[in-house]
């Protein structure tokens, strides 16, 4: 066991480097990190996959393909031992209908991610302009 085997633990455990969800898969659940870290990577054809983000405890992932028909857009794998809990799509959609504050919380997280993405696009554009590529 990777965590303290004497203590009971919730969720499901993944070993370092183990794939939790794979790019291209059909999504049927949301993942919440209970313990440890996970990295979001995409295969850009290079030797090593390109790391997009590192997610910490209480962070969630996999929500994009829950709210759309698109498959998973990136791979998420364990960065060191990690423990995650899944939230089923059907249950989540039902709770979101009953509970506007839960919808708001997920929306706020997604807005935060869009804000980070916009900041990243600006940073990259600036870097390209400085190199004279734009």
């Amino acid at each position: 066991m990777l965590f303290d085997s004497e203590k009971p633990s919730l969720g499901r455990e993944f070993a370092d480097g183990e794939v939790i969800l794979r790019e291209g898969d059909v999504g049927d659940c949301l993942y919440v990190i209970l313990e440890g870290q996970a990295e979001v990577v995409v295969d850009d054809g290079g030797e090593e996959p390109l790391r997009l983000a590192v997610l910490e405890k209480d962070g969630f992932f996999g929500e994009m393909s829950l709210f759309s028909d698109y498959p998973r857009v990136a791979t998420v794998r364990a960065l060191g031992p990690v423990r995650v809990m899944t939230v089923d799509k059907r249950g989540l959609l039902r709770w979101l209908g009953d509970d506007p504050t839960l919808s708001l919380r997920i929306l706020l997280k997604m807005v935060e991610r869009i804000r980070l993405l916009v900041a990243e696009v600006i940073r990259l554009r600036k870097a390209l302009r400085e190199r004279g590529d734009v």
């Binding site: 203590k7 009971p8 919730l10 969720g11 499901r12 209970l34 969630f60 089923d88 249950g91 509970d99």
Partner: protein
């Protein structure tokens, strides 16, 4: 009648309904740019073992609540967790069947509401901590103030606001004449097992508490190794033909096993009968005797709807209002605390606001509980028919042995005991034509010569 910035809010009772009401109210206030002063009145110290720190409950957090809390970002520290439940084992007079979920994931937790059973203090320092204390700390983290005093009386003043009067503190002989505080909004989360309900019955809005029954809850010390060896990580459910008993459950909790009996006003004699049943005894170590006086209680549980659990500037949440029948009381408190907070912040705190925003959620839960009553009544009728119980166990075993099976009866039973779904959903699955067909076939087989041997 709206909650504006600077409003004073009193939450009477610091169990899950009280702490979560305070937490969600302050969380919504933060999101909407409001500031409230929230006082949480709870005289008990949840860090004490035995009755002084206990909230009299089985202490299981359902799969659905665990998932909701995870999505909400409310994590459960490891020291709260006594065991993670991976399966249910159904014990009947006609055999046993294990029910496992399809996913390989632990989603059900057993916890102590207070600091653990009487006598546990000898294991100091305790390797676990209190769930109720954790929830209170979450509310305090958002700014709620804990007032560790007992409330004596609630009085509405000339402006319609509510005065909170306290019992004399230890060492004081006279009751204080002045109110402790005057509040714009009062949330009652007083449960059903103290004198708190009376405070709200005496107010002017016509509240009547829900109908109740008595359960029986006991903590048995067996030692962690024995608990794990005998019970595994499974919750054991007993559907036995014992008059007066609806069902019983044995839950692993570290060094302890919690035994809960639900039925029609369960008393000590019925509890003794259930404990002596061979189906129960086989799960305990050989020669083990039920302690003469284990840490036990007979809490009142909610089995019917309340009357008018809200008025101008006042609302009741949790067991003293609407809760789920025989299961997931903490999950019900979570949902209703959220609806209460949302109504107060977005609609207002007049009786009419609660009628439109809070009461429909209570009525929905109460309607669902009526279906639950029907399910348990049908089970009560069927329990004398051993061939029905045999058929039920047989169908569950068949479902569990196949991975491609939709497992409708198993999932209906799983949700009945885990509290993961409403009785409406359970009803739909349990009465699916295919389930009924399989049960009929199994019942016919049981009536054939040597049928039950196969």
């Amino acid at each position: 009648m709206e909650l504006t910035s600077g409003a004073r809010v009193a939450v009477i009772g610091g169990g899950p309904a009280g702490s979560l009401s305070a937490y969600f109210l302050l969380d919504l206030a933060r999101q909407t740019g409001l500031t409230f002063q929230v006082d949480l009145f709870e005289p008990r110290d949840f860090n004490q073992t035995g009755p002084p720190g206990c909230n009299m409950c089985g202490g299981v957090i359902s799969e659905s609540l665990m998932q909701k809390m995870a999505a909400e970002g409310i994590s459960l520290p490891k020291e709260l967790l006594l065991d993670a439940i991976d399966s249910y084992v159904l014990h009947t007079d006609s055999g046993a069947a294990a029910i496992r979920p399809l996913q390989e994931e632990m989603r059900i937790a057993s916890i102590f509401r207070g600091a653990g059973p009487q006598g546990a203090e000898s294991q100091s320092p305790l390797p676990w901590s209190s769930f109720d204390q954790h929830l209170m700390q979450l509310a305090q983290g958002l700014g709620a103030r804990h007032v560790p005093r007992r409330v004596r009386q609630l009085v509405r003043d000339a402006e319609g606001r509510l005065e909170v009067h306290l019992q004399p503190a230890r060492g004081e002989s006279d009751e204080p004449e002045e109110p402790y505080g005057v509040y714009d909004f009062l949330i009652g989360c007083v449960g059903l097992n103290g004198a708190g309900v009376r405070l709200f019955e005496e107010l002017d809005f016509g509240y009547q508490p829900p109908k109740t029954d008595r359960a029986w809850v006991a903590e048995f010390y067996m030692g962690a190794e024995e608990v794990h060896r005998r019970l595994g990580h499974a919750m054991h459910i007993f559907l036995l033909d014992i008059p007066g008993m609806k069902f019983a459950a044995l839950t692993p909790k570290g060094h302890y096993a919690t035994f809960i009996i639900l039925g029609d006003d369960v008393n000590e004699e019925l509890a003794r009968q259930v404990c002596l049943s061979p189906h129960v005894r086989e799960l305990f170590p050989e020669g083990w005797e039920t302690p003469v006086r284990p840490c036990r209680c007979q809490p009142r549980i909610n089995i019917g709807p309340p009357v008018h659990p809200f008025g101008d500037r006042v609302v009741l949440v949790g067991d003293c209002a609407s809760s789920r029948l025989y299961k997931d009381g903490i999950g019900a408190a979570y949902r209703m605390a959220k609806v209460c907070a949302l109504t107060a912040v977005t609609r207002g705190i007049a009786a009419e606001d609660f009628r439109q925003g809070y009461w429909p959620a209570c009525q929905e839960m109460d309607r669902d509980n009526r279906l639950g009553h029907m399910l348990f009544s049908m089970d009560g009728l069927m329990r004398h028919l051993s061939f029905f119980r045999w058929a039920m166990v047989t169908v569950i075993r068949e479902e569990q042995s196949r991975t491609d099976d939709p497992r409708r009866l198993s999932s209906a039973m799983w949700d009945t005991f885990t509290g993961s779904a409403s009785y409406r959903h359970i009803f739909r699955r349990a009465f699916h034509p295919l389930v009924l067909w399989r049960l009929c076939v199994a019942m016919l087989r049981s009536l054939l010569p040597a049928g039950r041997g196969r």
